[in-house]
Symmetry: C7
Subunit: 73 residues, 7 copies
């Protein structure tokens, strides 16, 4: 366990649905296609929810520095 890295939790989530919480207060869900060390992520079938309102985004690139946390479902 001592050699595992935080980003390994994302390796296991490739192709699966994740929830992404942003600094601006919205949540984005989608299937995780790719990510890098800055936590830039590419989601497919993405949907944004904020203050109880949902918006479909489809393919989306989310900039890593706007992300608080990423949680696989």
């Amino acid at each position: 366990m001592n050699n595992s890295r935080p980003i390994d939790v994302l390796e296991k989530a490739r192709g699966k649905k994740v929830i992404v919480r942003l600094k601006n207060g919205s949540d984005i869900t989608g299937a995780l296609q790719a990510f890098d060390l800055h936590l830039n992520i590419w989601l497919e079938g993405a949907e944004e929810s904020r203050n109880g309102t949902s918006t479909k985004l489809g393919s989306v690139l989310v900039r890593g520095d706007t992300i608080i946390l990423i949680s696989p479902e």
Copy 2:
């Protein structure tokens, strides 16, 4: 799929219309001409919408660190 990068979603969107959501709450749409690893982007035929108001921008360079997400239409 394991070798894909987040930015690949933009490679496929070159010359096509994208929606860019900014940290200040506005959305910019336009045809994606170029981008770099900082997510600085160059759009043509760009239009900004904020609080229900639209402004034509034409050619525009958007600084990457002001961007939350980029979504191809």
Copy 3:
């Protein structure tokens, strides 16, 4: 003691429960699975509490630059 590093307090907390305070005002608790030098962390069995409301997150990757402090229980 002169050679100890701040991150050593996390080495001793691997696999144990920690409290993570975020810049947005919420607290996240969970078992510390992994961390890196940016303080990106991976928690298991995570739960977020904010303004008296609790949300289960399960596995979660928290971005280091959103963290104020990490305290082992």
Copy 4:
């Protein structure tokens, strides 16, 4: 088109009038004299407008990290 860079839109605008939108909500217009990779820019004949009020600035160096976007007229 694949080799163009975002900053190329500025190369074409040298000596011409551009609009610069700042993070603090003001717009600055002026003739683009020089720029660098951080998007620091030097404008001549610059004028700032904010909340409907205009101020003449003349020569001005604008720090790149305060800029949201730059659009050639």
Copy 5:
């Protein structure tokens, strides 16, 4: 004196009580166990006070970029 560094004030405070003022407005006190060049710090017997309320934290790692100042008692 010309060769002293700001961080030397912390070298002399190792093992002693310090007050740490955070950007979010709270103060944390505790015995300084370790620190690094980013001003990440590890405190023991830490206690947080904010708006007149105190919370015991025990061992804590405080991220350097959330710190305004550190003052040995």
Copy 6:
């Protein structure tokens, strides 16, 4: 003109009066003594004005990352 850099506008202003607009909303005027690539600047005979109130500062070092723009008079 193609080889000029944004900072060249400051080279020409050495020893002369400049106006510096800060991110916190205040303006500082003074004679430009020195500057570096981060736009840290040293002013002499500096004066700060904010919300219509003026304060004499004399010699002052202004940190580059707090600056929006610098304009020679």
Copy 7:
């Protein structure tokens, strides 16, 4: 004069009283013991004033990225 650096104004102020203005709106005064290129500074006999209230701090390390300006008295 062309070779002087902004930080030279601090070299001349070593051991003397300086005023430090912080991004959070408070001012700290004290005798400048040491500083580095990030503008981290070590003050002795420091005192913080905010909204008309003064607090004695004694020895203090102020993190450079919280500083707006430093002015020797």
